[in-house]
């Protein structure tokens, strides 16, 4: 780098001045980057610190117990973990096929006009505030669930334990559906991008071997496998952390029930609902520990997803 510095004094100054401003800029951006990392670490530390009461009172039992009785000072998070896990998994089961279908349509099949319109609609969907989804869930989805979908499921699949009990409208399944609608945009958009990153030469190779359109798409899906998995996990992470909309439709009862019609509770919801009213130190501390748990889970899920997506896009660039 230095070998090109000419002997003339004036030019030297210009070069070093440029370098100086570059240096400031680089260091500044580096400081900003560090700040973000610092904030994350700070949040973790604070949550860890303030959940100390609860951690020392219950230990690992906190995760395995489903007693959440603020009055009796019994705190166990299992019911919330269950509610979060089941509602998110339901959301994934509903959202994945739909999103994949749309992503395939967008990247492989749709004519240009439809492609841009649909992409626009999906982006809008992603931008709707979750409280609006919550309202929609309460006023439109829940009544529909109660009067149509739940009775229907009970009639035809009532032999399964998942679809037994009273159709209340709210509950795990309703939460799952709301969450599904909310994560469809993420899974769709990323899957579409991953599919688009598959080089055209791969499709041509498939067609040249006599593949039909569907067979060529299957090949693209095979190539995009890990990226789509990444998109899925990212959507799952979003579902796990979602608070408002779920709180409004899940029923908010700290119970573990096999039926999807029953009300439940999620980690995020319990924090949102109880944090303001928690006056007991132990109660507060337990809520913070639930938060720590939620943070840990979403952090792991997201890192895993990013890693998968990264591995795919990096490979695509190489070709």
């Amino acid at each position: 780098m230095n070998k090109s510095i000419p002997p003339h004094g004036t030019e030297k100054v210009i070069i070093s001045r440029k370098k100086f401003s570059d240096l400031i800029f680089e260091n500044l951006t580096f400081v900003f980057a560090l700040m973000i990392l610092g904030i994350v670490l700070w949040i973790i530390y604070e949550m860890y610190f303030y959940s100390g009461e609860s951690r020392s009172a219950f230990g690992w039992e906190f995760i395995w117990s489903n007693e959440w009785e603020p009055v009796r000072k019994e705190f166990g998070a299992l019911a919330f973990v269950y509610g979060t896990a089941v509602s998110s998994i339901l959301a994934l089961i509903i959202a994945l096929p739909l999103s994949l279908g749309v992503a395939i349509f967008l990247s492989e099949l749709a004519p240009k006009i439809i492609k841009s319109t649909l992409s626009f609609v999906i982006e809008i969907l992603a931008a709707i505030p979750s409280i609006i989804f919550g309202f929609w869930g309460i006023f439109v989805l829940a009544p529909f669930m109660r009067s149509d979908l739940q009775p229907f499921l009970q009639k035809y699949f009532g032999y399964l334990p998942f679809f037994q009990g009273t159709p209340l409208g709210t509950g795990l399944l309703t939460a799952g559906i709301i969450l599904a609608i909310m994560i469809i945009p993420i899974i769709t958009a990323i899957s579409r991008d991953v599919l688009k990153a598959i080089p055209q030469s791969q499709r041509e190779a498939a067609y040249a071997l006599g593949a039909t359109k569907w067979e060529a798409i299957k090949m693209a899906l095979l190539n995009a496998k890990s990226g789509i998995l990444g998109a899925t996990v990212l959507g799952f992470g979003r579902a796990v952390g979602e608070t408002m909309a779920v709180t409004m439709v899940i029923g908010n009862r700290a119970d573990i029930n096999i039926s999807f019609f029953e009300p439940a509770y999620t980690m995020a919801s319990v924090i949102a609902n109880e944090f303001a009213e928690a006056s007991e130190i132990l109660h507060l501390s337990s809520l913070i520990e639930v938060g720590l748990l939620l943070f840990g889970v979403t952090f792991l899920i997201n890192s895993f997803a990013r890693l998968l997506i990264f591995s795919v896009t990096r490979n695509a660039e190489g070709r």
């Binding site: 041509e204 190779a205 040249a208 071997l209 006599g210 593949a211 299957k218 095979l222 070709r319």
Partner: protein, 272 residues
Amino acid sequence: MKVILDTELKFEEHQKLKGKDSSKFAITTTDLSVHFGLKAAIKKINLKIRRNTVTSIIGPSGCGKSTLLRSLNLMHELTPRTKVTGTIKILDKDITEYDVINLRNKVGMVFQKPNPFPKMSIYENVISGYKLSGKNPSESFDDIVERCLIHSALWDEVKDRLNKPAISLSGGQQQRLCIARTIAINPEIILMDEPTSALDPLSTMKIEKLIHDFKNDYTIIIVTHNMQQAARVSDFTAFMFIGDLVEFDKTKKLFTVPTVKLTEEYITGKFG
């Protein structure tokens, strides 16, 4: 400008001696034009390609070599706003009478950049034509893989690691794998679009040797920028210039006594 090859008696006799039905052309195009939007990429190409010969297509960049090649296995169907006019006869049947899938099983294609399927093993890549379509061949997969890898001169290099991913191979090996994958579906015609342009001289040599050995079993059309390569591997050569077929003749003749001035200028390196 267009010269349709006059069948030469000597060649025909030669073919007869080999016991082939020389009265048949593998490919015949009549007034074949391809337009991308309003722009003509090739104009009224008339070409007759004999069975079991190697034909090379040469010409400066952008003259329509790939476009011509890709019209022969209907690859243009994939590009919107592409219009193909004229007639193409493949193995004495009009191309429109074929089901696209069948046609592409008969007319295989090898691309410029090696493009094996990265998520498949070497073994799976060879039988990928069957894997994609779910069709079952008459031979066992093991036999196909061995036969095609031997034919494409790759067997010795990969027989101990057939289950390794295809992208673990070198570029030259990947290209031979793509050739193996193409011959696995038993085509009669193989189209190659600059198959060695991304490869080192040694790999190039191996593939040229393959092309030479393939002549008994396949009709081959190869696009190349390398005139020595055209001279080495092909029986016939077509010279194209800005969408026109300028001259088409036996390779020996075209490279020694070209009839068109433009051809002469091109092969002597005056332009291009």
